[in-house]
């Protein structure tokens, strides 16, 4: 029912677009920092771990680059990054809407004759679905730079070996898989968090509960969706 109201025709396109741009900045652009940071270090750590654990004269050196790439492309930059974003962005959405509910700001919109669900939730869903592929791409690149950093600054292997592995048997479809999955995950994060925030009843404790519930529920749904999407998107 809430989704029905959310996807109904906007009252004033100009105001919705303004809100959409604001959400792009708040939910998307402001998440670039954390995505860069986490992806860089995870890329570096994966490279070190793989190098340490598969060190064998039978195993070619470039395997480290190959495995790092596959992990980043197939799971980390799409699924795990979205789980992290469910925490950051999801709690942000739920607590913002929850606070608006308990301070009667949503009632104020309703009294004015504005479809509050559509005005508040639709720009968030649109902004996150549109911007999350950018974050996934940023994450892939940051992870690979992190992997290179272990060669340049840590000297754990040569950059040439890593580069060979990163390019070895590259399947472009895997990049698309990550991006396609991220669209679904973005929708889950925005809609589930918005539901928990919008339907809050009570006070600040309930806003906190809604925020926690939104993160837990969207994380569980992302994992479940990941399982199904991975099956559906396999070549």
């Amino acid at each position: 029912m809430l989704m029905g109201r959310t996807f109904s025709r906007p009252e004033r396109m100009r105001m919705y677009f303004k809100q959409f741009v604001k959400e792009i900045e708040q939910l998307g652009v402001n998440s670039i920092g954390i995505v860069l940071l986490i992806s860089f270090f995870i890329g570096a750590v994966i490279t070190i771990q793989i190098k340490l654990n598969i060190e064998s004269p039978w195993m070619p050196r470039w395997t480290v680059g190959y495995v790092t790439r596959e992990i980043m492309l197939l799971e980390f930059s799409s699924s795990i990054m979205c789980l992290i974003l469910a925490g950051k962005v999801g709690s942000n959405i739920a607590s913002e809407l929850g606070t608006m509910r308990v301070t009667q700001q949503i009632d104020a919109l309703e009294i004015m004759g504005i479809n509050s669900a559509s005005y508040l939730i639709l720009p968030k869903i649109a902004a996150l679905v549109l911007f999350i592929p950018v974050l996934v791409t940023v994450s892939i690149f940051a992870g690979i730079i992190g992997a290179y950093a272990t060669c340049w600054f840590g000297g754990i292997m040569t950059a040439t070996n890593l580069e060979y592995g990163l390019q070895y048997s590259f399947v472009e479809w895997y990049v698309w898989c990550g991006i396609i999955k991220s669209f679904f995950f973005a929708f889950i994060i925005a809609s589930v968090s918005a539901f928990f925030g919008y339907t809050v009843e009570g006070g600040s404790i309930d806003v906190g509960k809604a925020s926690t519930n939104s993160v837990v529920s969207s994380s569980a749904l992302i994992l479940f969706a990941d399982l199904i999407l991975t099956q559906l998107l396999k070549k």
Binding site: E11, T103, Q105, G113
Partner: protein, 257 residues
């Protein structure tokens, strides 16, 4: 004018409003008073459409709010303004943008005209200098005044105030009361104020409805209160020593006249 006819509302089988009948006239400050939990907020929420009553009629100048279509309802909503207990300003927007919000949503005027109108409303509540501030940066009384400016931005026909003085000092409360009364007269609006502030009752209560346990217990003007024999009303209004003394003086003055 807003007419409420035989309004019933219940939650989980518990009756919160029982057969409420009331006429809120335009150009007057109509007050709904009652103890906490008496049902006055539920009544206000039913009138503005935030809650749907089980039974009854709700007529806005003979237009039945409960049976009208979505489009009509939307149109009617643009004729309403509301001041919430918590002011309910959008905290991500500065004061001017808050006042401009309903204009941006519904007015076809140019940006210059909308800004001019919003500044006029802010000037009306003596807050022109606070236009650039954010709600979190101004006092509670100022927030209530911004809420009034926002409520009148679209020239509403109907103004609803849910405990507009809650959390304010007596002087600021008086200022808010006077402002609401002045605006009501100026725009000839139908104003309904939900309050349990006795100063408001004695100051601006042109028509008062006393709600007791979901029933309309009494109706009258602020002058009628002094002569009322309704025990529940008297217990509620004259609960403090101060107001009991006010009543004694008022009765004495009337008998001397």
């Amino acid at each position: 004018m807003i007419e409420v006819k035989s309004l019933y509302k219940s939650f989980d089988g518990r009756d919160v409003l029982k057969d409420i009948n009331a006429v809120f006239e335009n150009g007057k400050t109509n007050l709904i008073i009652g103890q906490s939990g008496s049902g006055k907020t539920v009544l206000m929420k039913c009138i503005v459409g935030l809650l749907t009553p089980e039974k009854g009629e709700l007529l806005y100048d003979n237009r039945n709010f409960l049976t009208m279509g979505k489009k009509e309802k939307k149109l009617l909503r643009s004729e309403m303004g509301m001041i919430f207990q918590s002011a309910a300003l959008f905290d991500s927007l500065p004061v001017l943008e808050n006042v401009m919000f309903p204009l941006n949503m519904f007015s076809e005027e140019s940006l210059k005209e909308r800004t001019k109108r919003a500044m006029f409303c802010l000037e009306r509540v003596n807050l022109k200098d606070a236009a650039a501030a954010f709600p979190g940066e101004i006092s509670g009384g100022m927030q209530k005044r911004v809420a009034i400016a926002r409520a009148i931005a679209l020239n509403p026909q109907y103004l609803f105030c849910d405990e507009p003085n809650s959390g304010l000092d007596p002087k600021t409360s008086l200022l808010i009361d006077e402002l609401i009364q002045d605006i009501t007269k100026e725009y000839n609006m139908t104003t309904i104020i939900n309050t349990h502030d006795m100063n408001s009752v004695m100051g601006i209560g042109e028509k008062i409805y006393y709600i007791y346990q979901g029933n309309k217990e009494w109706e009258g003007t602020k002058e009628d209160i002094f002569t009322s024999t309704n025990k529940r009303l008297n217990d509620f209004i004259f609960a403090s020593d101060f107001f009991r003394k006010v009543k004694e003086v008022e009765i004495q003055n009337t008998s001397e006249e």
